[in-house]
């Protein structure tokens, strides 16, 4: 499998505190990867770097077939290049309907003029309905996103990510605040998504990660502590010490 994203030797410090320390990480095309680590390990910061929100002090981030550097691109350019991101706290546009949220996320020309003259085609509407069905929000399609429950907002955000048709999906704690049934559904959705694109999932819940059945990367104090199958990393002594032992 070819490499889709390569992070090498990246460091970031906030006021002298090294949140990310010489981190290297690779994801292949259509790979599902879980990233775990204790609070403050730098998981969210790691996503911030890839998506252009935080500029690293050192290191490289290469992406795609030509290995383009993401560090010189703006957030919106990175997103257009196919990197989608789900935030830890669900961030949907609460003032707008579920349908509008999905329609905005749909992969179409993002320039102001194209958007101004955009009118949804029958295919666009059908796609929105299909997505709503996938995330179980069909009955809520025309309700304001702000009226949804926490778990439903998480799903809406996942739906918006799928609508973007990203090549690389970064998902920060997707199952937080979900019921066991919803978690299971989310696992299925993520596995399904990883068939056609690379998916990186940050998660605390070990059971959830186990069910993803994928390679796991353990982060600690801003660098990779261990990498491998879930059984491999859970047997690792250092991992037990800093993470599982707590």
């Amino acid at each position: 499998m070819t490499t889709l994203l390569e992070v090498s030797g990246v460091s970031v410090s906030f006021d002298g505190f090294k949140a990310i320390n010489n981190l290297s990480f690779q994801v292949a095309e259509r790979e599902l990867r879980a990233v775990i680590g204790p609070n403050g390990a730098g998981k969210t910061t790691f996503m911030d770097i890839i998506t252009g929100k935080t500029r690293p002090d050192q290191g490289h981030v290469r992406y795609g077939d030509k290995g383009a550097s993401l560090l010189s691109m703006s957030e919106s350019r990175i997103a257009q290049a196919g990197v989608g991101r789900k935030f830890q706290r669900p961030t949907v546009f609460e003032d707008q309907s579920v349908a509008d949220n999905l329609m905005m996320a749909l992969k179409r020309d993002r320039g102001p003029f194209a958007v101004l003259f955009f009118r949804p085609s029958a295919a666009d509407r059908a796609r929105v309905e299909e997505l709503a069905d996938e995330i179980g929000l069909t009955p809520a399609l025309h309700r304001k996103a702000g009226e949804l429950s926490h778990g439903q907002k998480q799903w809406l955000e996942i739906g918006m990510l799928l609508a973007q048709e990203p090549r690389l999906l970064l998902v920060d704690e997707p199952a937080a605040g979900m019921t066991p049934a919803e978690r299971e559904h989310t696992t299925d959705l993520l596995k399904e998504a990883a068939r056609t694109r690379a998916v990186v999932v940050v998660e605390h819940d070990m059971e959830f990660v186990r069910r993803l059945e994928c390679k796991v990367t353990v982060l600690h104090e801003g660098s990779v502590l261990a990498e491998g199958s879930i059984d491999h990393v859970t047997r690792n002594e250092k991992v037990i010490e800093v993470y599982l032992g707590r």
């Binding site: 997103a79 003032d95 905005m104 102001p112 955009f118």
Partner: protein, 434 residues
């Protein structure tokens, strides 16, 4: 399933219309947005009504000066629409849009003053034995216009003042270009929130201070005057001209309303409201946020310029004090009181507050005698306005326009938290157990 969805989308339609998204998704634009139709109809009725009651074309129940006040109010409603688009929808609290309004006024004022002075000068020179040369005419006009600031030559900014089409182009281009350059610099460096507001205040302050100087080329603090007289139509009574301008202002407001409603109704409206609510998130969706902000800022500056170009011929005079920073702050206050984030809210706010302001500051409002103190409204109106602004911000953030929601909610009970259907309802119960 599709049939079901359509049924829902119409039954859940929000009657306030402009909030977008929840409106039915097919049919002609006006049918999908009933509030726009209502607005246009009311505006037409209002304009007709005033015409019938006017001195120029009707029974004379309304004085010409009041017709002018109404016409000016329509222009203020138009600039308030622009403010609502940029602030209420896109979340950019610009405190500089009255500068664009003033620039539009200056642009048209230059032609009005030039062309009218030209007629006077040509008439006075016609008595001479030799026909006057173009240079003599030009010098004569310059002496007339710039005598007050001790100059007798045309400054470079007047190069196109002789041409109506060029000055009309300036009405659009000058505010548009200024907004484009200013916005590009500000948005590119990601200046947002209160810093952006301060920056726009600085822009309008700088502009007004510059115009106050005699060598700015725009007659310093004298400003441009006599703008109510249309060149070549000297014998047309003001009672007639005022109605023309009322109609022109109403047309511009109607067109502006349609344009704004169209802009905010589609995906563009979705995106700018999303920018208002969470601009970082919009970036991660791949939208170039800065380009959207710049587009909205520039378009609204152009609308403001057009509104100004219609306002000042009715006011008759424009001077740099009109561009003072406080004017733009008032504009924001109107929109806040009317209810930002809905177009009719901006119109209601501008009309209501500016007419009330005319009444209070015009000395017609009866004084209130408290026994120990007499409240003269001329002095206390600004205090009342300030207090209302604070009250609206604290207690009725949806403004006067929010009253429409109260009526709408009575008809459509608040669905917040209602069941989504058997399955999701069950899920929600489980959630509650956790």
């Amino acid at each position: 399933m599709p049939a079901d969805t359509t049924a829902r989308s119409s039954s859940w339609r929000n009657s306030s219309g402009d909030s977008g998204g929840i409106t039915p998704r097919s049919g002609p634009f006006l049918l999908r947005h009933p509030s726009v139709m209502v607005f246009i109809a009311l505006l037409a009725l209002f304009t007709l009504g005033v015409t019938i009651l006017s001195e120029g074309f009707g029974i004379g129940a309304i004085s010409t000066s009041f017709v002018k006040t109404l016409g000016k109010t329509l222009c203020l409603c138009l600039v308030a629409l622009a403010m609502d688009l940029v602030w209420g929808y896109c979340g950019i609290l610009s405190l500089g849009h009255m500068a664009f309004f003033g620039l539009g006024g200056y642009a048209i004022g230059m032609w009005l003053m030039y062309a009218r002075t030209e007629i006077i000068v040509v008439e006075s020179l016609a008595a001479a034995e030799l026909p006057p040369t173009p240079q003599e005419i030009s010098d004569g006009i310059a002496a007339q216009i710039f005598g007050v600031v001790g100059a007798s030559e045309f400054p470079p900014v007047w190069a196109f003042a002789h041409s109506l089409p060029l000055q009309l182009a300036a009405v659009v281009l000058v505010p548009g270009l200024l907004a484009l350059v200013f916005g590009w610099l500000a948005f590119r460096s990601r200046v947002t929130g209160v810093y952006l507001s301060i920056l726009t205040q600085a822009m309008t302050l700088a502009l007004s201070l510059y115009l106050f100087q005699n060598d700015s080329g725009l007659r310093g603090n004298n400003g441009l005057s006599g703008l109510q007289n249309l060149p070549g139509l000297g014998d047309m009574p003001q009672s007639v001209v005022s109605i023309w301008f009322l109609w022109a202002s109403a047309l511009a407001l109607g067109a502006g309303y349609l344009l704004c409603a169209w802009i905010v109704s589609g995906k563009f409206g979705s995106v700018i409201r999303a920018i208002r609510d969470d601009e970082a998130r919009v970036r991660f969706l791949g939208y170039p946020v800065e380009a959207f902000k710049l587009a909205v800022f520039t378009v609204t500056a152009v609308i403001a310029g057009i509104a100004g170009a219609l306002y000042y011929p009715q006011a008759g005079i424009i001077n740099p004090a009109e561009i003072a920073p406080i004017a733009s702050i008032y504009l924001a206050v109107w929109v806040a009181i009317g209810g930002r984030g809905r177009l009719y809210g901006a119109v209601i706010g501008a009309a209501f507050v500016s007419l009330l302001s005319t009444w209070f500051t015009g000395g017609q409002a009866p004084d209130v005698n408290l026994g120990f103190y007499r409240i003269h409204w001329v002095d206390w109106w600004t205090v009342l306005l300030g207090l209302s602004f604070v009250a609206v911000t604290l207690f009725a953030p949806r403004g006067i326009g929010g009253l429409v929601d109260l009526i709408a909610e009575r008809r459509h009970p608040d669905r917040h938290g209602a069941d989504l259907g058997p399955d999701q309802g069950a899920l929600r119960e489980k959630e509650a157990d956790q």
